[in-house]
């Protein structure tokens, strides 16, 4: 088992010691970071600190030095976003700080995505994402999309104010196995149920797994409206999408 001292970067070590309180989670993150090279830990530290210009510089340099794009993404960016996600979940940081980290991740991903796309790696799954009709809020949805893409999903972003018909057409067009709906307002949450009803009415409800999220949404509300899953934050969204892709594959096999 790795120890905290196996992590070379002092900033990362301090972050883990200060903010990761659940023993199993702490052990798992230490295990991950202990295997990560000092250069990638440095990128991760800059990301956790929201230093997008530093992430930009270090990512470019790593690629120029022939470090694999996949390694930069997994070890430099995604591993660090896990710490950010935990800090957010535990209310050590809030949306402005997460947005700062997301901006840093986006900066790094801008260099990595073209390389990965060109390499033809099979996506982990196809996901259609959108904010429901009447709702123009998209911060949470965008964070989910960023984390999904970073985890190897191909994501089709429908943006905000998405009608049930737009969700339906996009799922059919892209043959998505998972669809994610977001709402920030209690006044627009009912449109999630309306969208699910549209899928039922069109006889395609079983063709796609539907996940929902957003500040006022709860597991109970998701269950009541007949969604397949609810994610509290972007980290849960990724775990849920992986689970739903697997379940849908079992249904179709």
């Amino acid at each position: 088992m790795a120890s905290i001292n196996d992590i070379t970067n002092e900033f990362v070590r301090n972050e883990i010691q200060e903010y990761l309180e659940q023993p199993d989670e702490r052990e798992s993150v230490i295990e991950t970071f202990a295997k990560i090279s000092p250069r990638m830990q440095e990128i991760g530290a800059a990301l956790i600190d929201g230093q997008h210009k530093v992430v930009d510089e270090l990512t470019l340099k790593a690629i120029a030095d022939d470090i694999q794009a996949l390694e930069v993404m997994d070890d430099g960016l995604i591993a660090a976003m896990r710490i950010v996600g935990i800090k957010f979940r535990e209310n050590f940081i809030y949306v402005p700080e997460v947005l700062g980290c997301a901006r840093a991740m986006k900066t790094g991903m801008a260099h990595i995505e073209p390389i990965l796309s060109a390499s033809g790696i099979k996506p982990a799954g196809r996901v259609v994402m959108g904010t429901v009709k009447g709702d123009l809020h998209d911060i949470g949805k965008n964070l989910c999309i960023m984390m999904l893409r970073g985890s190897g999903f191909e994501v089709f972003d429908l943006g905000v104010d998405t009608s049930p018909d737009e969700f339906l057409a996009s799922v059919e067009e892209h043959e998505a196995t998972v669809m994610g709906m977001s709402a920030l307002l209690t006044t627009t949450m009912p449109n999630m149920a309306v969208t699910i009803e549209t899928f039922i009415d069109e006889g395609v409800r079983d063709d796609v797994k539907i996940m929902v999220g957003g500040a006022p949404v709860s597991q109970e509300f998701a269950d009541d409206m007949g969604a397949d899953g609810y994610g509290k934050d972007a980290m849960e969204c990724v775990a849920l999408a992986k689970k739903l892709v697997k379940e849908q594959a079992e249904v179709e096999s």
Partner: protein, 341 residues
């Protein structure tokens, strides 16, 4: 006591004959729109329709207040934000992906700010309501706080990133935007508003309690000094971690969300501010029946919450039956607990 007297006394945290039923945001529904022929979006832009639909909160539902401002977009429209007016069954919204301001220097109130169709609609509606119902119930207006105006005019993401990158610049923007809050608030007071809701969405779902203290507490204290009617601060979502600061703002009341348990909230504010709330919208008022609504009303009354009402603007498809249950449950609770609250 009349509804008006009851509400204003509760804002002062004075004894009342029963807990007032208060709507600081919106209880407009599609059913009510049909009942008085005042549908969205027109009811947000035509003073006669706005007044007619707002009055149903009293005449049909039995609340002690009337709130004519159903949305949070009237002044943003007057400031020049791009709008999406939607249809009868959807809320009008600001297109925050198309912000109108970037720098503090951009923050300027247009000369027609108070005469613009969408701001004047509210002041005209308040005049109508004051004349018709002013002796019976409290007429509540609504003026957006600078933080919420920041979301609308700068865009949510750019505004929050600015607060992270440059707190000083953000404070300057807020200071300039507060003029809109004051001007629009004063116009509604002159039109006859008994109190004003001041939505300023520094919610725990987005920012920390310390953010509230750093960016808003002093501004809110200043707004209390400048707007001479009871102010009801409205912030959705988790707010327990900032209620101590909110209680120091001098606001008459805080309209709080069902994510915050009534008894814990009452303990934190410790009679320094009245609490209004906090019947859950999506899971109770929208999805369940009168019995569940009644249970939540009782939870608030058992916790001695000062005014009872929905936690926020209700979904437009909420049933009238569930909304009527709120005042009914309040009256029944008081009948069973005969000591005045």
């Amino acid at each position: 006591m009349t509804g008006r007297e009851r509400v204003l006394a509760a804002f002062r945290r004075e004894p009342v004959d029963r807990t007032p039923v208060c709507n600081p945001t919106s209880v407009a529904t599609v059913e009510l729109m049909d009942l008085v022929d005042a549908p969205f979006p027109e009811a947000n832009r035509d003073p006669e329709m706005m007044a007619r639909l707002a009055a149903t909160g009293y005449t049909e539902l039995g609340f002690d207040t009337i709130m004519p401002v159903f949305t949070i977009i009237q002044e943003s429209s007057a400031l020049g934000c791009k709008m999406q007016w939607e249809q009868k069954d959807n809320w009008p919204t600001v297109r925050m992906r198309e912000p109108i301001w970037v720098e503090p220097e951009d923050v300027k109130l247009p000369p027609d700010f108070l005469t613009h169709k969408d701001t004047r609609c509210v002041t005209d509606a308040i005049k109508i309501l004051k004349k018709q119902y002013g002796d019976e119930v409290a007429i509540i207006g609504k003026t957006m706080g600078p933080w919420t105006l920041g979301y609308h005019c700068f865009g949510v993401e750019p505004f929050l990133l600015m607060s992270l990158d440059n707190p000083g610049k953000t404070k300057l923007c807020l200071d300039r935007m507060k003029e809109a809050t004051i001007e629009y608030g004063m116009a509604q007071i002159e039109a006859g508003a008994d109190a004003l809701t001041l939505p300023d969405h520094a919610t725990g779902d987005l920012v920390s309690g310390e953010y509230y203290k750093e960016f808003l507490l002093d501004l809110h204290i200043e707004l209390v000094e400048k707007l001479p009617v009871p102010l009801i601060l409205h912030i959705c979502g988790r707010t327990l971690d900032r209620m101590d600061y909110i209680a120091q703002s001098g606001m008459a009341a805080f309209h709080y969300d069902s994510k915050n348990p009534p008894s814990e909230a009452m303990e934190v504010v410790d009679n320094r501010i009245a609490l209004v709330g906090n019947i859950n919208n999506p899971e109770t008022l929208f999805s369940k029946g009168p019995e569940e609504v009644r249970q939540e009303v009782y939870q608030n009354l058992d916790a001695k919450v000062n005014l009872v009402g929905p936690e926020c603007a209700i979904p437009l498809q909420t049933s009238i039956e569930n909304l009527k249950e709120i005042p009914k449950a309040v009256k029944d609770w008081h009948r069973d607990h005969s000591t005045p609250n």
